[in-house]
């Protein structure tokens, strides 16, 4: 996985091409932090997502909340990553309303989102 900044310097994209399971989450955290420190808007793109586990989903939730609290935005394109929502659903993460941190109800796990 890697992070690339756009030419504008305001946004960037994280490209993911490996399973987001426990063995990779520390690396993923570093990439997220790197993006957080450099830009206001990050796009997440999957080349393929063979697997994601509890720790991977949890890290996404954390990153999403962290960006939201700092008025930064995160756009996740789940093309090539259908497993993301399937696993989230199995774990009971998908919900009707957003978490309490987001008054805008822009929670990562909101069911009505296109994810």
């Amino acid at each position: 996985m890697n992070f690339q900044m756009d030419t504008s310097g305001q946004s960037g994209t994280i490209f993911i091409d490996e399973p987001l399971t426990i063995e990779n989450v520390s690396k993923m955290k570093t990439v997220f932090l790197d993006a957080y420190n450099k830009i206001d808007h990050v796009n997440i793109r999957f080349k393929s997502l063979a697997d994601i586990d509890l720790n991977g989903l949890q890290l996404f939730c954390s990153a999403h909340q962290t960006f939201a609290k700092a008025n930064k935005t995160m756009d996740i394109d789940l093309t090539n990553a259908s497993i993301f929502n399937k696993k989230a659903k199995k774990l009971g993460l998908i919900r009707h309303k957003g978490c309490h941190l987001e008054a805008s109800e822009n929670c990562l796990w909101r069911q009505k989102s296109s994810r």
């Binding site: 426990i22 696993k87 199995k90 009971g92 919900r95 009707h96 309490h100």
Partner: protein, 732 residues
């Protein structure tokens, strides 16, 4: 085969039928997790029950298919057309194995090989990942190995039939009593480091029954503080299961010291409180000790939606409210389902027993008619009263018994979806099928005998009717053709309309072919309907080449005879470039009909009342008016008639005034001349013996109140016979 094995087979056939429907739905909605779960569950149940009842080959094969389907369920393998094809092939193979134990099992290997080929690109979690799981949880790993998807799922399956036999098929759980538990599971944040994956525990709980799971995420720290290998989530789980509380505790047995686990019973079968209503949101939150009753009271005074108020007031967070609402919803659903099960509980009865019951009711109707006749002729008022009561009861019994054999037509409609799919693929066409009126009921026997004619009609629609996608596009139509099946009630009949939006039938082309084949002569004048009816002539075919699908010139005539054998009719309407509709008109039942009893000579006959339009007198003056031709004038309209006396070669002189029973056949009115009309008659249909096998003009017989027999007239065949005889007469 013992009764249990027979019951297994029946259930397996039902599951396979459902599986086919679900797979076809899944093909249209590949992201629908519920459908994926349904497919998996059906396969899983077949596997478990096959092993339990000694069908080991089926169990072994299903196990392999299930392994691949598990990859789909876990999101590692996408639902593609190819996968659905193979799943359908697997389903067909299981059915073949059920049909015949001697089926060629080499096909199994081929199907499995192809299924595994689909999943060959899946990245299996690396050895490092396996090593990450510490030895502490090796025992748990053994327990969950059956569903451990992160293990190598494509390795040679280690099929343990004994273990499979111990799996209780889910079909039995619906009748078992169920309990609903509220489980709050808060793992130690370091649980994963200690070697237990909470995800597996959640999956284990899901295996116990119906669950609603809400993960609480409010403890997840931000990016700066999160330890990625910790678990910050806790879960509220509502589980409805037929298992005891110990089964739940067993799942957590190895991590008891590394989690907070709270399990409470919140609903069970047999509770007096049986409605679908469940506790209010606030009550649930207080019970869970998420809020105090005082705070709830204060908050309630604000008179807004409680969940919103609680969240806005920071009394409860969104996750807690979401979880409580999920519990409320879960219990409502469980209770509604339970109430539904109680009110619609059913038993499985052998179809032969039902047939016997219908026969017995038929006999009873006959005996009751005899009793009524005797009672009225005796003028004994007490006996007449009893006879009237018996008559009422018999009528109720008859109606109830007949309704037992009625099945919704959707049972046969659903089987055609596969036919449309496979055939359109084979012909390179794109066709979708829609159905309407699937709840319309027909006698089980009518439905069974309707299958073959409908298959033929649908095949014709796809082969001859629907154009290829490019042709459709050029004609400014959607590339995808449509076939619609619609069933509606129409009096004592059901109309089934099979429509396509294809090229339609060209009447001129039909006429040309009929001329070429000598079915008509150049001077034959035909209406559009009559022209379409030529398609039902034996040997007619509009196809230029003979294909496997249709076009052999046999079929539509057989379709027509099959429908008429059901005492039904078939009609064609078509418009070039727009499409074709074939309408089947079928009686609701084949066992008892409302008939019109008539007398010819000294014999009695029954005409189906549903076909009768009206009855008129035929006097000598009427005969004189028609100058020897067999036509009657009814309100200035000419109605041709068939004198049954001469057709049946009855020598005795006719009465001075005869009766013409006018019936509708193929949209035309035709009269049948009889000596007298006795009246309406509840006709219990008996099949004819060998002596009458060749007499196709009679569709059956019935026993009258005095014990004599009346033949039931097949008006379609009678009119055809009369027409044929008339043509011969003219030719001579």
């Amino acid at each position: 085969m013992d009764k249990q094995q027979q019951a297994y087979r029946e259930e397996a056939y039902e599951l396979l039928a459902e599986l086919e429907i679900t797979l076809l739905e899944l093909e249209e909605n590949p992201d629908d997790d519920d459908l994926i779960d349904q497919v998996f569950r059906a396969m899983h149940t077949i596997k478990g029950s096959s092993a339990m009842f000694g069908f080991d080959a089926i169990a072994a094969f299903t196990h392999e298919v299930e392994t691949v389907l598990d990859l789909v369920r876990s999101g590692q393998l996408a639902v593609t057309k190819e996968l659905v094809n193979l799943a359908l092939k697997s389903r067909d193979q299981i059915k073949s194995m059920l049909d015949s134990p001697d089926v060629d099992l080499s096909k199994n290997e081929n199907i499995i090989k192809q299924l595994k080929g689909l999943s060959s690109d899946i990245k299996i979690p690396s050895a490092e990942a396996d090593e990450f799981i510490p030895e502490v949880v090796s025992d748990i790993e053994e327990d969950v190995s059956d569903i451990e998807i992160s293990k190598n799922p494509l390795s040679e399956p280690d099929i343990d039939l004994d273990q499979m036999k111990s799996e209780t098929p889910k079909i039995t759980t619906e009748t078992a009593s169920t309990i609903t538990y509220r489980i709050r599971f808060t793992p130690n944040p370091k649980l994963i480091i200690y070697g237990t994956n909470p995800f597996q525990l959640i999956l284990d709980i899901q295996e116990l029954g119906d669950t609603t799971i809400v993960a609480q995420t409010n403890k997840i720290p931000d990016l700066f503080e999160i330890a990625p290998d910790h678990c910050y989530i806790h879960w509220d789980i509502i589980l409805t299961t037929d298992q005891g509380i110990e089964a739940i505790r067993d799942i957590f047995i190895f991590i008891e010291d590394n989690c907070d686990l709270n399990i409470e019973t919140i609903d069970e079968d047999g509770e007096i409180e049986f409605g679908s209503d469940y506790k209010k949101l606030g009550q649930i939150l207080i019970e869970r000790k998420d809020i105090s009753s005082d705070l709830l009271k204060q908050t309630l005074q604000k008179q807004r939606r409680l969940g919103e108020i609680l969240v806005e007031s920071h009394v409860a967070d969104q996750g807690q409210v979401e979880s409580a609402l999920a519990e409320q919803n879960h219990i409502r659903t469980v209770r509604e389902k339970r109430a539904q099960n109680t009110s619609t509980s059913s038993i499985r009865v052998d179809a032969d027993k039902l047939d016997t019951l219908v026969d017995l009711v038929g006999e009873l109707v006959t005996v009751q008619a005899t009793l009524s006749q005797k009672a009225f002729s005796s003028e004994d008022t007490e006996l007449i009263g009893i006879a009237e009561q018996v008559e009422r009861l018999t009528a109720d019994l008859r109606d109830n018994t007949m309704s037992i054999r009625m099945l919704p037509i959707s049972t046969t409609f659903s089987t055609f979806k596969r036919l449309v799919r496979d055939l359109s693929n084979e012909l390179g066409k794109e066709v979708s099928m829609s159905t309407e009126g699937g709840k319309t009921e027909l006698d089980k026997k009518v439905i069974e005998r309707l299958n073959d004619p409908m298959v033929h009609i649908i095949r014709n629609c796809i082969d001859h009717g629907i154009e290829s996608p490019d042709v459709r596009e050029n004609a400014r139509k959607s590339r995808v053709g449509t076939i619609s099946l619609v069933a509606v009630h129409s009096g004592a009949n059901v109309l089934i309309k099979i429509s396509d939006d294809g090229a339609g039938i060209d009447p001129q082309k039909v006429r040309t072919i009929a001329l070429e084949k000598g079915i008509i002569t150049p001077d034959t004048e035909l209406s559009e309907t009559e022209t379409y009816n030529l398609l039902f002539a034996p040997g007619f075919s509009t196809a230029k080449t003979v294909s496997d699908i249709s076009g052999r010139g046999v079929g539509m005539d057989v379709v027509k005879s099959s429908i008429e054998a059901l005492r039904g009719t078939i009609e064609i309407e078509s418009e070039i470039g727009v499409g074709t509709t074939i309408t089947l008109k079928l009686p609701l039942t084949l066992a008892i009909i409302d008939g019109l009893l008539v007398e010819v000579g000294k014999e009695f006959y029954v005409l189906p009342l549903s076909a009768v339009e009206e009855c008129v007198e035929l006097t000598q003056a009427d005969r004189n008016k028609s100058k020897g031709r067999n036509i009657a004038w009814v309100r200035d309209e000419i109605i041709p008639y068939i004198p049954l006396r001469s057709l049946f070669q009855i020598q005795s002189p006719p009465p001075s005034i005869e009766q013409v029973v006018i019936v509708e056949i193929d949209n035309a009115l035709i009269g049948f001349v009889v000596d007298s009309i006795i009246g309406e008659h509840q006709t219990v249909i008996k099949s004819l013996g060998r002596v009458y096998r060749g007499a196709k003009e009679f569709s059956g017989a019935t026993i009258l109140a005095d014990g004599s027999v009346a033949l039931i007239l097949d008006v379609h065949r009678l009119s055809f016979l009369a027409e044929t005889l008339e043509r011969k007469k003219v030719a001579n």
